[in-house]
Amino acid sequence: MRGKGIRIEGLKKRYGTGDTAVDALKGVDMQVAPGEVVGLIGPSGSGKSTLLKCLGAVIDPTAGRMTLGDEVIFDDGWKVRDLRALRRDKIGFVFQAPYLIPFLDVIDNVALLPMLAGVPNAEARQHALDLLVALDVQHRAKAMPSQLSGGEQQRVAIARGLVNRPPVILADEPTAPLDSERAMAVIRILNDMARKYETAIIVVTHDEKIIPTFKRIYHIRDGVTFEEAGEGRAL
């Protein structure tokens, strides 16, 4: 599964019915290879969030096909029975704000996902610690989220998105609250992690300063995507 990343073909989403129906996605095509980080850019109301919610198995697309690795997960209907398990095991999320659980320390914020999947606590914490080391925040493992800086919180959030080794990570404006130095650091980390764990990462962004770092960019406008080669500026 991991070898093929994520492929989206003709994905459509219609809100409402009859005269009031709105086509938020009119046939989206995307493909992101393992280890690749692509940008998804578009103005407000273009359908970015709808696409992200469809990819995240949070809302039901109206039509189209989505393939995760070798597994077709949607083909004019969900092919997976347990969408909750799909989100937990095969899709990583990184949000605009870190949204860490405030009453769990850093290591348990990251280890929570494997614990939810039934991994024993000690093993889950070891996975989490490995990622914290990779993201250079292992020294904050026992800290509470409120004790972290914005950059540290975002790195912990990335660790949480990666902890179950999902084939795809959906990052929704992950650099929005950060200054340009920290924003670039986050993009560098996402690229490193994508390569290291062979994860396909889709970064939804408005952030002008990070757009030049993508090698490939998908523009979305009026519910339709079109691909563009990015500058792929060195990080």
Partner: protein
């Protein structure tokens, strides 16, 4: 799997502990209210136990002597004593009044007891904690220790002064007033005796009445005045039975042949619990229901607020694959934890506060267990709103747009 509820409680322990203390005080009041009811029932039973009687003979068709007034001639006991199965019969009077000592007074039930012996004659205090029983025919008293009187102190009942010669304990009326035992004759006088002006007015009225003041019948006026100046009535006759005789049978026999109302111990207990303190019990029950609703509202509000504060985190938890039952369990466990904290605080509060109440508060372990179960049940019900709200949270809320 880690306990999300436990971690959240540890993270915001101040909020939980202070809310728990507030809830605990409410639960404490609830337990004390239940204790007040138990105390009333126990006071009633203590009254019956301490009287040492198997039967209560009272004025016909009354619920006397505790729930209604009852008046019997003080020679009726002789006829009762002659009934088969009756071992002893003794007159008794009860008068609830303010008993004065020096500059202050104490509410007490003054009990007039017939001459006899401790442990034998019904109506006598069955034991003393200090001093001695009454040995003189007049002006001695045995007081319950709750009156605050000490041995040798002089107390005033109506126009007469009595010396406290003995102290007893847990001798109370059905409403919890401590008892003071005096001689029957003194008690009859206390029930009847009026002030000098009233006596003088009464004599004048009698003298002015031509039916009583008849020159042709010498001595009539004096006889009438003499009868008006004494009290030959008691409130009840306490009866103990000979071994081997059933209370119901002897009671029926006295009812039939003496045309009086007789109550057995079980009937008297029904009167005390079912009639005398029934309205108080209903009042307390209403308070308990209101307190239960207030407790439920507080727990529901706190749990709802705590859940509202975590809406975004709950959306994230759902998005990353947390099961609904895990989230529901987190909220439920928090509500139960709040209930447990509240109950512990409430139980401690009730235990330490109960002795400070002026009337007897009896905290029964069974009530505590029932209260604990009720608190947990209230917490479960109160968390339903918050759980429903949490389960309705759309995981898409975690994603912007």
């Amino acid at each position: 799997m880690i306990s999300l509820a436990g971690r959240d409680i540890l993270h915001s322990w101040g909020k939980f502990v202070f809310t728990g203390i507030g809830l605990g005080l409410l639960i404490g009041v609830t337990l004390v209210m239940a204790g007040v009811y138990r105390g009333m029932v126990d006071d009633g039973k203590a009254l019956l136990d301490n009287s040492g009687a198997d039967l209560w003979v009272v004025q016909k068709d009354t619920l006397g002597p505790y729930a209604e007034s009852s008046s019997l001639n003080d020679d009726i006991y002789r006829g009762v004593l002659a009934m088969p199965g009756v071992l002893r019969a003794a007159n008794v009077t009860y008068l609830t009044m303010q008993v004065r000592k020096g500059g202050h007074d104490v509410r007490a039930m003054v009990v007039g007891i017939a001459p006899g012996k401790i442990g034998i004659t019904p109506g006598w205090p069955p034991y003393l904690v200090a001093g001695r029983q009454m040995t003189r025919g007049h002006y001695e008293a045995v007081a319950d220790i709750a009156t605050g009187f000490a041995l040798g102190e002089r107390i005033q009942i109506r126009r007469n002064t009595f010396t406290v010669v003995g102290l007893t304990r847990r001798m109370v009326s059905s409403s919890g007033d401590p008892m003071i035992f005096i001689a029957l004759k003194d008690a009859q006088e206390a029930q009847f005796l009026k002030d000098n002006d009233a006596i003088w007015q009464s004599r004048r009225r009698t003298e002015a009445n031509p039916a009583f003041n008849r020159p042709s019948v010498p001595g009539l006026l004096d006889a009438v005045i003499a009868s008006q100046s004494s009290n030959a009535f008691v409130n009840a006759v306490l009866v103990t039975l000979e071994p081997g005789h059933a209370a119901d049978e002897v009671a029926e026999s006295i009812r039939r042949w003496k045309r009086l109302t007789v109550y057995t111990r079980a009937q008297m207990e029904d009167i005390l619990v079912g009639k005398l303190i029934a309205s108080s019990a209903k009042q307390i029950a209403m308070f308990l229901v209101i307190l239960a609703f207030v407790s439920a509202a507080i727990v529901a509000f706190i749990i709802y607020t705590l859940t509202m504060d975590k809406i975004r985190e709950i959306a994230v938890l759902k998005l990353i694959g947390t099961r609904n039952r895990t989230i529901a369990a987190m909220i439920l466990q928090q509500a139960l934890a709040l209930g447990v904290i509240g109950f512990v605080v409430g139980k401690i509060t009730a235990t330490y506060a109960a002795p400070l109440f002026p009337k007897y508060v009896l905290l029964v372990p069974a009530d505590s267990i029932a209260g604990f179960v009720a608190v947990l049940l209230i917490c479960v019900l109160s968390s339903i709103i918050a759980i429903r709200m949490a389960l309705k949270v759309d995981p898409a809320e975690a994603i912007g747009g």
